[in-house]
């Protein structure tokens, strides 16, 4: 159940227009007309993107019956973010070690062969 929604969230985020809509909503609620304004797109086209975002639980509709403002729902995004954050931390640590290896390789430039360090080193 939860993973299905995560798939839907990833799918919803795979489109640049939808990401831009979310970025706009992060600054505050907005009606469909207000959302359509910065894009060279018709309101029906924007509505279509909003439907995808609503299905993924990323956007909800406000109470105001006339404007029907759209609101950002942070929870599904937080789940995606958390998952990516875990991934990022692992690779950041790897790449920081790679930085040191690259710096050493360049100090020793001219020589391709760099002896491996002893096991157990961190």
């Amino acid at each position: 159940m939860r993973s299905d929604r995560l798939d839907a969230t990833f799918a919803a985020l795979s489109d640049p227009t939808r990401r831009a809509i979310l970025a706009r909503l992060a600054k505050g609620d907005a009606s469909v007309a207000e959302l359509a304004e910065p894009f060279a797109m018709s309101q029906p086209a924007i509505s279509k993107h909003l439907k995808v975002l609503e299905r993924a639980g990323l956007v909800s509709r406000g109470r105001d019956a006339q404007r029907r403002p759209r609101r950002l729902e942070a929870r599904p995004l937080a789940e995606v973010t958390e998952w990516l954050e875990h991934y990022r931390q692992f690779w950041e640590a790897n790449y920081e070690r790679l930085d040191s290896v690259l710096a050493e390789m360049q100090r020793l430039s001219g020589s391709r062969e760099i002896p491996p360090r002893k096991e157990g080193r961190r």
């Binding site: 990401r19 979310l22 992060a26 790897n94 790679l98 040191s100 157990g120």
Partner: protein, 162 residues
Amino acid sequence: MTKAGTLQVTTPSEREIRMTRTFDAPREVVYEALTNPSLVRRWLGALEGWTFEICEIDARIGGSYRYLWRHADGSELGMRGTYLDVVRPERIVSTEVFDQAWYEGHAVGTAVLTERDGRTTLTTTIRYDSKAIRDAVLRSPMESGVAQGYDRLEELLAAQAA
């Protein structure tokens, strides 16, 4: 080209994860550090408590690689894969399969190296099966489900838009 030292993680499609990182070295040097086992074992997965038991790399089309890490408590983490495309020092395409199958199916990773002004941007895109993503997510710490604020969101969107 991203700033050196800043890692960007994005999801260009529902089945892909992309990492972009710039290194302060020409790409021939970076390529070497990615494909020479004696160098790879110094940086890849060198986590607290883990030792790199096996690090074998045959970076040629049709060649394979094998990584095995062992923890002080005896547990192991291993992965292997085959090189589908290798263009030194520009591109490495390989499959990845974990011994412990923490996700099902396989994944294909594409590493692209571009150089500018003596610095190299490494873009790694990993494409998973849809089910694989699901299984990976099920096993991730996300299960504990800590609610996060909007601050992280801005960061994510900035990374997504990049």
